[in-house]
Symmetry: C2
Subunit: 407 residues, 2 copies
């Protein structure tokens, strides 16, 4: 993975100081350990898994689904999955009904993922499914040790995996939360972790402290008042769900009351896909308010290779310049052209990430890169990156409403 | 459709003055006429269409695809489509390859949609397909009269439909651009237009000038400096692609240099889906920077009806409050709970739209409502709502790059 910054590198902050803080945080926050974790238990479980199961259905929402979905959908176009993977992410009955239409329930295994074990969406769908199918071997659970869901699973006699300590939902994709469903569907999770490990090594092993990651985090934090919106503009459709994962990671980690001032602060994430969103969002970037940073993500190698045939269409001869161009060259030229056009404008901070290919290693690296970036920016803008106190109020009101119905 | 505003209605602007300007614009801008257009030619074409065709593939991007996709995906869960509908929206070879894997090309008809007739993405994919299949009856074209694509189609002998005058791409979904693919796939396009007509009648026919639409537009325009981000938070998965359509409409229309000052101005659109994004974006709304307005969209009637079974899961008895609740009641209670929680916070302007059901009439109304809102805000913030000059620079650079390869 390469990352090239097109904006000024600020030297005003003491980078060594920042690295010290992150090194310290690394002792407490669990996700930093994930690239080097032991995954033997996951691989063993997958090896001995029922060969007749064709579908894995994940009951999970937010951090329990977005990461695995991002990786699964990234890899799907190049590799036929060993099993189908579905996600129940909503209480929308249209959605639940639609998912069930797509599978043979007798060839389906349910993976119930909830850190707290009491997520309303997940448990309501679990009840719906459990009323139809209640054998212990139809379910595997991933939750915190001693949660009520853990106790339920123990009573039932199903297999339970536990979340490692101090790994929050949105930072959990490289834990069993993401690894188990992905491995069951044939994803090379060793390669995935190796991609993350490479980024980890190059960041923490770099004694010179000159990485683009650090410069980018400092720029984002320093300019958060003006540039309060951070866009990812990925030039491959396969990163569509990666951008959804990014939106949760960034928004939920960095939208907070500041630790010391209690001021409302936040950086707003936006996911865009090129060239599609050149025809949608680009106008706003080019001519709109100067409140956005843009990170372009390009793919070096596309497979399969498709060329535009060298045919001339009457009256459309002006477009013969497209003849014999490979689609993957065209899409990267489209990306480069937009970058050039934006560099001609003022006050639009850009950077470019190039990942090598559609493979597990590349996406593992990209995910870990964004987790590190989030941690760095969170430290710099003085928020607790790892909690989400703002979502509790709505949950309490919902429970009140449900209790009132019972009365 | 109901729309309830939870923020102050500003009376400082002369609403009659604004209505006069919009009435004047209505004489020039074509989309205002679409709800009352004659669609006999489309219906006739669809009636006599080859019954063996199972798939419609649209070659189109941005305004040529997002609207039809939004409506098709909204209605899909409740009504099995008469034909499958696919969209080539990218030059990504993974995407092109993946789409072709899904269809039998001999049972597929191609709908080529390009207003200018020279869209790089659309023509490059047309070349790719045309090299494999070049019969006139395999294609239908939608373009501007006398475009080069029109001339190509005339030479080929295929059927051509024309865009009505002064209807830009992103305002074209209720023209033949959206109506033709949707009608071919079984959507009731009369009901769709009736939904839009109802909104049109109630807005322009209202002599009292007290509509929520007007108040909302004035609030958004008046506060565009502070509230520069406008979120839609839709509590049904079926509006997922509607939010993508909204992003183009809003971003490309309102991200501009102002007409009189040439200042960069812009309102940034964001599409969210509940309850999923309660676990992703809500934290940022609740505790982040006060730069966002939120519009909740609720569905009154869900079909099918699914209930949460009244079973008690050991250790999870606390969640028995969910028992016997219908999923559609739960999702709307989740929405109401988040609204209540946000109303307890300060400086987060909210409003709520309720649409009656998943049907063509409701989505037609919602689409036209957002088109009117866009026109009103564009007028108030002093931009040309209907052009997109900012996207040209990148296109010119791309053509240069392609020409340089030839040399």
């Amino acid at each position: 993975m390469q990352n090239k910054l097109y904006f000024e590198k600020l030297n005003i902050l003491n980078k060594k100081e920042l690295m010290k803080k992150i090194e310290k945080e690394r002792n407490n926050i669990g996700y930093y350990n994930l690239p080097k974790q032991n995954i033997d238990d996951i691989l063993e479980f997958v090896d001995s898994f029922d060969k007749n199961i064709e579908n894995i259905m994940v009951l999970g929402i937010g951090g329990s689904s977005l990461g695995a979905k991002a990786i699964f959908e990234f890899l799907k176009p190049i590799q036929k999955p060993k099993r189908n993977l579905f996600f129940f992410e909503s209480t929308d009955p249209l959605n639940i009904f639609d998912l069930f239409k797509q599978v043979d329930i007798n060839k389906t295994h349910f993976l119930v993922i909830s850190k707290s074990g009491e997520t309303v969406e997940t448990i309501s769908i679990l009840k719906y499914i459990f009323a139809q199918k209640s054998n212990k071997e139809d379910y595997t659970f991933i939750t915190d040790t001693d949660s009520n869901l853990d106790k339920f699973a123990q009573d039932l006699g199903s297999k339970v995996f536990y979340l490692p300590t101090n790994v929050g939902g949105r930072f959990s994709v490289l834990s069993v939360v993401g690894l188990l469903p992905l491995a069951l569907c044939g994803v090379d999770i060793k390669a995935l972790l190796n991609g993350a490990k490479d980024v980890d090594d190059s960041f923490f092993g770099n004694k010179e402290i000159n990485s683009a990651l650090l410069d980018k985090a400092i720029f984002y934090a320093k300019n958060h008042q003006q540039y309060s919106i951070n866009c990812i503009f990925a030039y491959t459709q396969s990163l569509k769900y990666f951008t959804e994962w990014f939106v949760q990671l960034w928004g939920e980690s960095l939208g907070k009351r500041q630790r010391h001032s209690a001021c409302n602060i936040g950086l707003t994430p936006i996911g865009l896909i090129g060239p599609k969103d050149q025809h949608s969002f680009l106008q706003l970037i080019m001519e709109g308010k100067r409140d956005k940073t843009i990170t372009f993500i390009k793919l070096k190698e596309f497979n399969p290779k498709l060329n535009i045939p060298a045919i001339s269409l009457p009256h459309l001869e002006a477009l013969n310049i497209l003849n014999n161009i490979a689609f993957h060259d065209l899409i990267n030229m489209q990306c480069d052209s937009v970058i050039e056009a934006l560099l001609n404008e003022k006050e639009i901070p850009l950077d470019e990430i190039v990942i090598s290919a559609v493979d597990a290693k590349s996406i593992g690296g990209l995910i870990y890169y964004y987790e590190l970036l989030t941690s760095l920016v969170g430290e710099l803008i003085d928020v607790n990156t790892y909690n989400q106190p703002g979502v509790e109020a709505g949950k309490i009101i919902l429970k009140d409403k449900l209790n009132n119905i019972l009365k």
